[in-house]
Amino acid sequence: MTEIATATKVEEKLFQNRYLVDAGKPHIRVREHEVPSASLLAMTRLCPAGCYAVTETGQVEVAADGCLECGTCRILTRKTGEVEWNYPRGGFGVLYKFG
């Protein structure tokens, strides 16, 4: 399975979901870094919503709009402290219809 095929698939999956995005107030931030740790890098594969990606200069960035709020990135990077993770403001974020 190619990476591109997977990325498209995750996006299609997220399209089914309902979100209330808190524009301009992302609830997850990646702290500034030069070289990402193995854990942070792993999130580019492990995030079930595909929110993490590597930039051209080799850093890891996050776009949390499609976040499913599972917390995997928070737990995996707890030792490196590279991810600043909060719940979205009350009422915002993913809105499960079925759960």
């Binding site: 997977t6 999956k13 979901n17 209330l20 995997t72 737990i75 009422g91 759960g99």
Partner: protein, 437 residues
């Protein structure tokens, strides 16, 4: 100080099964309760397979069957051991499960939690949604005296805060009440909702009316990682998902979505889902560390219930019943102390833990305390080697190809000995027996 007066007898953080069980029990006993939930409505952030275990809810709302949104009552359990093209396993189906008060139901958590939350309000609790608790307020001695939220205004005070904040449990962790959960102690599960006409589901699973089937699967579907797949029949949909331990996922090469796609495409699963319309994709963490991962549960002014306390029996795929039971018992403990006019401190609240010890919650978690470690140390064997061996053995046994049965028996025994050696087989049996007892 006037503003530090307790506004409520208790504050409950979170409106999942444990928080709702706690808030309902407190309110029904006449305590003034504030329950705070970050979702738009109770259930909007909550994800589960989901199976509801009647016993735990009956002890809280005995007549729940008359009004709760239930999908199907479970009459059949399929436990599958899978390799890449086959499954074998154990099934149990019984007409006895078509009883007046069924034992297990499939549910949709967003709808079920909304109903449970309505019951909490009916019982008299104040439920504040769309509000995230940001921190616990402590006094100079370190005692928890209230919460601060992301809404403007002063902190809200109460003699006790029940933390039903789920697996991520940011509030308790940030306040230093318990350590961060370890990647080795938690599974990441992804799940999809597949919609089909109810007649199609009933025909595919041999069901009548509201009867339902549960499939729990393990094997090469998790590619050597510790984890399981599942498929549950709802009224007009099928919940299908797969989950693995986070630290295993981190070391592997597959994405959660790829793993789910491969599971859905398996020849044993694909025909069950054919033609369905997917309406939701969800992800959630499941605490799987068991007894040894249970954090400190009580302290001055606080109690932990549900997933935040790691109350999941991973072996039996039970969690919501442990959540409801811990929530109820925490609330009963608080009610008893409240009536006696006693302080809610680390000493008096220990009564919650003593009561839990006497229930299935602690007994089951204790019984299986060795299982998470056993699986982690032997994941390639239990999730790869054995499922393959079982499948090969079945295929050898059932394929009629002119080879005599004695030769087939020998071939099967040899395949097990070659893969695990006699000593290995005996060792595995011993280790499983010891962890199981």
């Amino acid at each position: 100080m006037a503003e530090m007066e307790d506004a409520f007898d208790a504050i409950v953080v979170g409106a999942g099964p444990s928080g709702n069980a706690a808030a309902y029990t407190l309110a029904k006993e006449g305590l003034s309760v504030l329950q705070i939930e970050r979702g738009e409505y109770a259930g909007s952030k909550n994800v589960q397979g989901a199976i509801l275990y009647s016993d735990a809810l009956e002890k809280i709302i005995p007549e729940f069957r008359e009004e709760a949104p239930l999908e199907r009552h479970v009459i059949e359990q399929r436990m599958w051991s899978m390799d890449d093209t086959s499954h074998t396993g154990m099934h149990y189906r019984s007409g006895d499960f078509n009883e007046e008060k069924p034992n297990r139901y499939t549910i949709l958590r967003a709808q079920f939690d909304k109903w449970f939350s309505a019951k909490v309000k009916e019982a008299g609790a104040l439920v504040l949604c769309e509000t995230t608790v940001t921190e616990l307020v402590k006094d100079l001695t370190g005692r928890v005296i209230g919460v601060r939220t992301d809404r403007q205004g002063n902190p809200i005070f109460a003699p006790v805060v029940i933390l039903a904040e789920g697996v991520n449990g940011l509030v308790g962790q940030r306040s230093g009440l318990r350590p961060e959960i370890a990647p080795e102690s938690v599974a990441l599960a992804v799940k999809e909702m597949h919609f089909l006409p109810r007649e199609t589901i009933e025909a595919r699973f041999n069901l009548k009316g509201n009867e339902g089937v549960v499939i729990e699967a393990m094997g090469t579907i998790t590619r050597g990682m510790t984890g399981t797949g599942f498929l549950y029949t709802n009224e007009e949909s099928i919940s299908v998902g797969i989950g693995c331990i986070v630290s295993d996922f981190a070391q592997g090469e597959v994405t959660p979505a790829e793993l789910l796609e491969a599971f859905k495409a398996h020849p044993s699963i694909a025909p069950l889902l054919e033609g369905s319309e997917v309406k939701e994709y969800a992800a959630h963490l499941i605490p799987e560390g068991g007894y040894k991962a249970i954090p400190q549960l009580t302290g001055d002014g606080w109690i932990v219930v549900g997933d935040a306390g790691q109350f999941v029996n991973a072996v039996h795929r039970e969690g919501s019943n442990l959540a409801m039971t811990t929530g109820r018992i925490a609330a009963e403990t608080v009610v008893a102390l409240h009536r006696k006019g006693e302080a809610m401190d680390g000493y008096t609240l220990k009564e919650y833990e003593r009561r839990l010890e006497a229930t299935f919650v602690m007994k089951d978690l204790k019984k299986y305390k060795g299982i998470p470690g056993l699986l982690d140390a032997n994941k390639a064997t239990f999730f790869g080697t054995y499922p393959r061996l079982f499948s090969q053995a079945m295929q050898t046994w059932f394929r009629v190809d002119g080879v005599d049965k004695k030769t087939k028996e020998k071939a099967i025994l040899k395949s097990f000995r070659d893969s695990r050696s006699l000593r290995g087989l005996l060792g595995d049996a011993w280790r499983v027996a010891r962890a199981w007892r």
